[in-house]
C-alpha cells in the first residue's frame, strides 16, 4: 500500500478551457430524435396548409385572432404566408415545441438516469445548464426559421414575390422585406427563449419530462388568457407573452421600436430570473434519480 502511495502520480486530467463538443452532442441528440422530427414536421405543415387553403379560396378581408392579420395580404405577396403561419403558431405550437425540448433537458435526463452519469463524467452543473439552455434557444430559433422558410417558399411558389406592402401602407423592396421577416423571427425567438428559461427551471424540479412540458404550456396559455382579460390590465405589461404579438411593429416603416424594446426587455428579465432560479435549484440539488 505504501509503495502505491509513493508512486502516486499527479492528476493527468487537463480540461480544455472552451469547447463546443458537448453542445454539438446535445444538438445532435435533439435534432436526431424522431419525435422532434415529427414535431418540426407539424410546425412546417401549418404554412403549407395556409398557403394551399388561401390559394383554393382567397379571403375577402377581415378575420379574427390576436395580433396583425396577414391572411388578406397573402395573395398580394407570398412572404405573408410565413407571417401568417408564425402568427398562428406563436400562441401554442411554437411554445409547445420549446416546452418539449425543455422537458427533456434536465427532467428527461433524470428520468432516464443519464443525468447521474453525465454529472460523474464530470459535467459541471452550471455548464450543464448553460449547454442545455443554449440548445433550447437554438432549437427555438430553428423551429421559427423553419416555419418562416417553409412559408416563404410555399408563398413564393403559389403567390409570387416582389415588393411587399408593409402594415403602415408603404411598399418595401422584396429583399428588404425578407430582412424584416428575419427580424420578426429573431424577435419571436427572444420571446421563446424567455419561455425556455422558465422551462429549464421547471425541468430542474421534476423527473417526468412530460409533466414539465405540460406545466410550461400551461404557463404559456395562462399568460395569453390573462392578457385577454381587460379587468387585470394592470398585470398585462408583466406577462411573459404580452409583447409577443408586437412583432408586427417590425413591419412598419419606420419600425415602431418602443413596444419591441419593452418586449425584449421583459423577455430578458424573465430569462435572467428563471435562469437564476434554475441555477439555485440545480447547483446544490441531490441527484437521486
Amino acid at each position: 500500500m505504501s509503495v502505491a502511495e509513493a508512486v502516486e502520480t499527479p492528476a493527468p486530467a487537463r480540461a480544455r478551457p472552451f469547447g463546443t463538443r458537448f453542445l454539438r452532442s446535445e444538438l445532435w441528440l435533439i435534432f436526431g430524435r424522431r419525435r422532434n422530427w415529427a414535431g418540426l414536421a407539424v410546425l412546417a405543415a401549418v404554412p403549407i396548409l395556409i398557403a394551399v387553403a388561401v390559394k383554393i379560396s382567397p379571403p375577402g378581408g377581415g378575420g379574427g385572432g390576436d395580433g396583425p392579420n396577414f391572411f388578406t395580404s397573402i395573395t398580394s405577396n407570398g412572404l405573408f404566408v410565413a407571417l401568417a403561419a408564425l402568427t398562428l403558431e406563436l400562441p401554442l405550437f411554437l411554445p409547445l415545441a420549446v416546452a418539449a425540448i425543455a422537458g427533456d433537458a434536465i427532467a428527461g435526463e433524470a428520468n432516464l438516469g443519464t443525468l447521474r452519469y453525465l454529472l460523474t463524467v464530470p459535467v459541471n452543473r452550471t455548464r450543464m445548464l448553460a449547454v442545455k439552455y443554449t440548445a433550447i434557444v437554438i432549437f427555438a430559433a430553428a423551429a421559427v426559421l423553419l416555419v418562416a422558410a417553409v412559408g416563404t417558399v410555399m408563398g413564393l411558389i403559389l403567390f409570387g414575390g416582389g415588393p411587399a406592402t408593409m402594415l403602415s401602407g408603404t411598399e418595401l423592396p422584396f429583399w428588404a422585406s425578407v430582412v424584416r421577416l428575419l427580424g420578426v423571427c429573431a424577435y419571436i425567438t427572444i420571446g421563446l427563449a424567455a419561455l425556455g428559461a422558465i422551462g429549464l427551471f421547471v425541468s430542474t424540479l421534476a423527473e417526468q419530462p412530460i409533466g414539465v412540458t405540460i406545466a410550461i404550456v400551461m404557463v404559456n396559455v395562462l399568460s395569453f388568457v390573462l392578457d385577454s382579460i381587460p379587468q387585470v390590465s394592470w398585470l398585462h405589461p408583466y406577462l411573459l407573452t404580452h409583447y409577443w404579438m408586437n412583432f408586427g411593429d417590425l413591419l412598419r416603416t419606420p419600425v415602431e421600436w418602443s413596444n419591441l424594446q419593452q418586449g425584449a426587455l421583459a423577455a430578458a428579465a424573465y430569462a435572467v430570473l428563471f435562469w437564476t432560479a434554475a441555477w439555485a435549484r440545480f447547483s446544490n440539488r441531490d441527484v437521486t434519480s
Binding site: E8, A11, A13, A15, L29, L112, G113, R116, L119, P122
Partner: protein, 307 residues
Amino acid sequence: MAVESSGLTKRFRRHTAVNEVDLAVPRGSIYGFLGPNGSGKTTTIRLLLGLIRPTAGSHRLLGEPMPAGAPRVLPRVGSLVEGPAFHPYLSGRDNLLRLDAADRTADPGTATRRIGEALDRVGLLAAAGKRFRLYSLGMRQRLALAAAMLAPRDLLILDEPTNGLDPQGTREVRSLISHIAADGATVLLSTHLLSEVEQICTHVGVMHVGRLVAQAPLAELRAGTLPRVRVETDRPDDAARVLRELGLADVATTAVTATGALGPLAPEKTVAELVHQGVPVRGFAVVAPDLEEMFVSLTGEGFDVSG
C-alpha cells in the same frame, strides 16, 4: 488512500441512510463493499461521487478533497451507479460517444478508438450499432462497464457490476476487474454476492443499517475466525461424540456430516481418533469459514432488507 471518508453522514428527512461512515480504501486494492439491500451502499457511492451532498462529514478521492476537487479527480474515476442508464433510441456506440463528448478532458481525436476498445473489452463490439432499447439487461450492464472504462482510470467505483449478467458474463467481468486492478487501478466494488468478494477482493467493508460495521483486509478477517473440520460419515452422531471428546467446540451434525471448530488440534489427530473409535470416515476436510458466516456474525442477521 484511493477513497477516504470521515464521518460521512446523509440524512433524508428523519431517515439516516448513511451514518458516520469512515471508509479507507487503499490504493491498488479491490475493495468489496458489502451489505444487505437498503444498508446504505448506493447512497454512500452517490456521496462519494458528489451526486448528493453529505449532511455531515467529508471525503477524498485519490487524495483530492471532494466535491471541490471533482473537476480534477472525476475524469480519473470510472463509475457504475445503480445500474446502467442510457438514451434508449441511441446505439451503444452513440451513447458512449455522447458521454465522451461531455468530458472536457477527453481527446476528441482518439474518441473512436477509445470507444472501440472499451466496447471490445466488454465483448459488446458486435452489438455496438444496435439501439440501447433492444439490449438485454446483461448487454446494458456491459455497456455501462464500457462507459466506466472509456478513459484510463485510477479508480473504478462499481455498484453491483455483475447484476443481470449470465454466468459467462459474470466470469468475464470478474476477470476484467482483476485485470484492471493488476494494471494498478483501485476498484471499489459494491455487491451482495459474497462469492464474488471471496474470489477477487483484497479488502472488505461491511455496511449495516447505514453504518460501516467492519472494514479490513480479507485475509485479516479470515484470520480472526477458526477453521472447521467436516467429517462425512453415515454415523454423524458417533462422529460428533468423538469430536466433542477431542475438545472441538460448536459441533453440529447433518444427515451425512459432522462439523466442529478445529481449535489448536491437528486435523490428522482427529481422523486417527475417529478411525480408532470405529466411526466410518467417508470424507474429511478442513474448511475455512465462509464469508457468509462472517457476514451474518457481523450484521447479526441474515441477508434481509435493512429497515
